[in-house]
Subunit: 296 residues, 4 copies
Amino acid sequence: MANIAFIGLGNMGGPMAINLAKAGHQVCVFDLSADAVAHVVAAGASTKASAIACVQGAQFVISMLPAGKHVDAVYLAENTGLINHIEAGCLVIDSSTIDAATSCKVAKALATKDINFVDAPVSGGVGGAVAGTLSFMVGGSTEEFAQAEPILMAMGKNIFHAGVHGAGQIAKVCNNMLLSVLMVGTSEALQLGLANGLDPKVLSNIMSKSSGSNWTLDGYNPCPGVMDNVPASNDYQGGFMVDLMAKDLGLAMETSLASQSSTPMGALARSLYAMHAASGNGSKDFSSIFKLFNKK
Amino acid sequence: MANIAFIGLGNMGGPMAINLAKAGHQVCVFDLSADAVAHVVAAGASTKASAIACVQGAQFVISMLPAGKHVDAVYLAENTGLINHIEAGCLVIDSSTIDAATSCKVAKALATKDINFVDAPVSGGVGGAVAGTLSFMVGGSTEEFAQAEPILMAMGKNIFHAGVHGAGQIAKVCNNMLLSVLMVGTSEALQLGLANGLDPKVLSNIMSKSSGSNWTLDGYNPCPGVMDNVPASNDYQGGFMVDLMAKDLGLAMETSLASQSSTPMGALARSLYAMHAASGNGSKDFSSIFKLFNKK
Amino acid sequence: MANIAFIGLGNMGGPMAINLAKAGHQVCVFDLSADAVAHVVAAGASTKASAIACVQGAQFVISMLPAGKHVDAVYLAENTGLINHIEAGCLVIDSSTIDAATSCKVAKALATKDINFVDAPVSGGVGGAVAGTLSFMVGGSTEEFAQAEPILMAMGKNIFHAGVHGAGQIAKVCNNMLLSVLMVGTSEALQLGLANGLDPKVLSNIMSKSSGSNWTLDGYNPCPGVMDNVPASNDYQGGFMVDLMAKDLGLAMETSLASQSSTPMGALARSLYAMHAASGNGSKDFSSIFKLFNKK
Amino acid sequence: MANIAFIGLGNMGGPMAINLAKAGHQVCVFDLSADAVAHVVAAGASTKASAIACVQGAQFVISMLPAGKHVDAVYLAENTGLINHIEAGCLVIDSSTIDAATSCKVAKALATKDINFVDAPVSGGVGGAVAGTLSFMVGGSTEEFAQAEPILMAMGKNIFHAGVHGAGQIAKVCNNMLLSVLMVGTSEALQLGLANGLDPKVLSNIMSKSSGSNWTLDGYNPCPGVMDNVPASNDYQGGFMVDLMAKDLGLAMETSLASQSSTPMGALARSLYAMHAASGNGSKDFSSIFKLFNKK
């Protein structure tokens, strides 16, 4: 069992830390929110007065933070950066979804102190975090991946080695850009059927068993009433928020710009999600994009 | 066993007719191409001098024709239309992929002579036609569907009842519009990963097991070398031609226009496939759209 | 002065007929609405009991009808078509905005009776129709154009010879497709400026005097408050209705499909206008698409 | 006459500096390329051994650099930044096209030393730089704008005050995003006309005098042969390079992402230009996007 510091106990980080503790690891957690800390401590973790105190002596440091600037600051800030307090040989696992450039920058800086690093963003949402069934997309060397894998297994089900540092982030934005296209394309197709008299359950069944089959259509249908237990049948509550999809599409577009790639579908999805968020749907599930194609 | 007339023996119609004959039906075939007729007759069908001669006394008439105008002409042309020669009680199964309006017009006209009708376009390509594993999307009444089903089973695996007359065509264009979006979106995502250093096999595996999973990524990967036995690994030969996808997207757009639906992704896919066809790729497999996003 | 029959007295046709009468022509008008007829007769035209009666002895027949099927029926319907009543040598001027294929079909049929034809759709809206400042885009032979021009001058200011039969319609859909792109592009650019703190008047002035200059930005600004006397500053009342732009974009897309052209921007504009119409803005001016990009 | 330091003598900066010298100003220039310096010195400027030496005692410092990172480094680099050498009261005019955030950062830093600043990106291309007819879009206070205007008049014709610091950059990206949409939309419309038999000169003339009128159609026509003296009639040589338009669209997209704006047309134009550049057209004029819509 390992000695683990966990920084960032939000909707995702909290249950992830709890699963580590449940698996028998020694988990010392830190967050600016005392409530968030208390909740995880109640489930078996310990805490200390600062992130710096937490990482001292840890074999693993895991972080789950909102954006690249937070990751940069937590590890590399001039005086307060954890880089000066993490021990050589320790593995830093950053599970935040951020730009690959920041992941690489942090990896490179930590390497100068012989600290290992993987970027390991997740998919699977809050449900997956609680159930311990997340997917991890990991960027780092073969050795770093091998070091990370047993720890990640306590929080997830599929642990993918995407490639070198930053590759985990790239895999995540590619997947989520594709996911957004699947959702918009599925919504358009279902609405086109509806507008021409088809029953959406019948059409969904046909396409799911044909070449239109995809993750959103088959198990996360955006048309209300087609499936039980999906956000569409619960007024688009829960699930994966439009604002978070918009954030991930922002990262995908930055990646596309930086590599001068052509991503017309991804770019269209980005603008449609921005439009949808701007008209007040930011905290709805991302399948609510279906409504954008409603006929009055 | 039934007495079946089969009109239209192209790349799809030929093997479909052969499968009916192999199943033990009496199949009388007609096509303007003597070679096409000879090929099917050699496999067990019979032929007659005209389509009119074929349909006389038939319990089922099946047609597989290129476009709505051909279907309209074959059944309804003023003097030569089969409507005047098909017997009451017979079921016409039109498996052509055409506009729903023509399907409905033909159904309505045939009904005045007590001839039943279903539109039953297929998916599955030439491979599925030969193997007898096509999917049929059927539009017609419950009685007509029941009448059609046992015959269709000799040619396909999945027989879907999409709804009333025309619904088969609508389901087909919805599915194929969605399929085109899946293919373009998957191509963009894989190219974005490639441009940022990821191995396309690794990325495909990750996304297939994550929320990016879809029919094109999982079994028909557009990136050369990721999968064996797909057109992408055979210089985009075989499979489903760009020109045919462009035709289906044309039908999808006409359906979208007629119902004043908003289908931005489908419309973008249509223009990208038109662009791709115009630059000389019309007879390549539709997964070759991947090349549109190549970096030099 | 000429002897003119005028069929179709809607928002456009009515003032056009009045301008012909004011110019001194003998104008005999017909419409299914008695009110519409009475209004034009009060301004100096005459009427008869039927369209057939109106066209007998006329040197020119002008029609202004909603769609291709109406034009087809008015001229070519089996028994009631005007083709059987218009005199040889007469020029038919169809100013309806319809598909080019129908224009060509009518032209060809009329030619068998030695009746001349031009398609002559207009731009300039109701305001231009009343003021007699419409633009006409004319399709027909050089002789037909020469025959049409003096009559059109009584209703418009710019009379363009676009090419052979149907070319007037093609020019119209090309222009209006481009117009829709200008309006959406201008709306996006102004909203992007607004969201980043710029004054829309200042930004409009800069772009109008730079390479962003275009008809919509310079004289029909979609941002409320930038210009007086445009629909945007009058709650998007008046002007060119979203539903009419959607109709014209439908014709543009049919033209694009028929010629297998790639028109991604036009197709995107079509879907955005369909989306905008579906959310209840069909009778607003087409510059109201600006609102689609509003930040909450 | 003013004492001016000019940093960055590329295709644009060189002729701009020469125009300042010709207008009678004392211009001290610096560039890493000795050839570039020699060329401008031959036209009347002076030079010194370093940028730092140039700015000492200058009343104005003008920079024309490739990207935000260069501007940031030139002014703010820890030891070598010009901020430590420019005199209080001096006005820095940065004419580089960069992100607004960097402009604001530099402005704020310089203000701590009582150095004034405007961002003043240009439009008009190399031709405008040579002829002294550039447009400047200026971001800064009213006082800073007043200080800048007389100097800018020696290099340009239209000097626009866009707003506060950064507003010049925002105006530039809004304008150029719109410009790209005009160019793509015009190309599509002309190609649609061509594919349907229209003469592009005739169609261009009609649309230019109608509501399709825009800067690209009217004076920079992308169809070869329609206009003399434009890149389209010279194999798309000269003019405004595809790679530069792609760079500006990258800045526009970053601006759109940062403000969570929806810019579907701009985003589509960005992907089409990236696609066009990737297939080997990066150094062609941006009107060559017309070729993307060619029918074989």
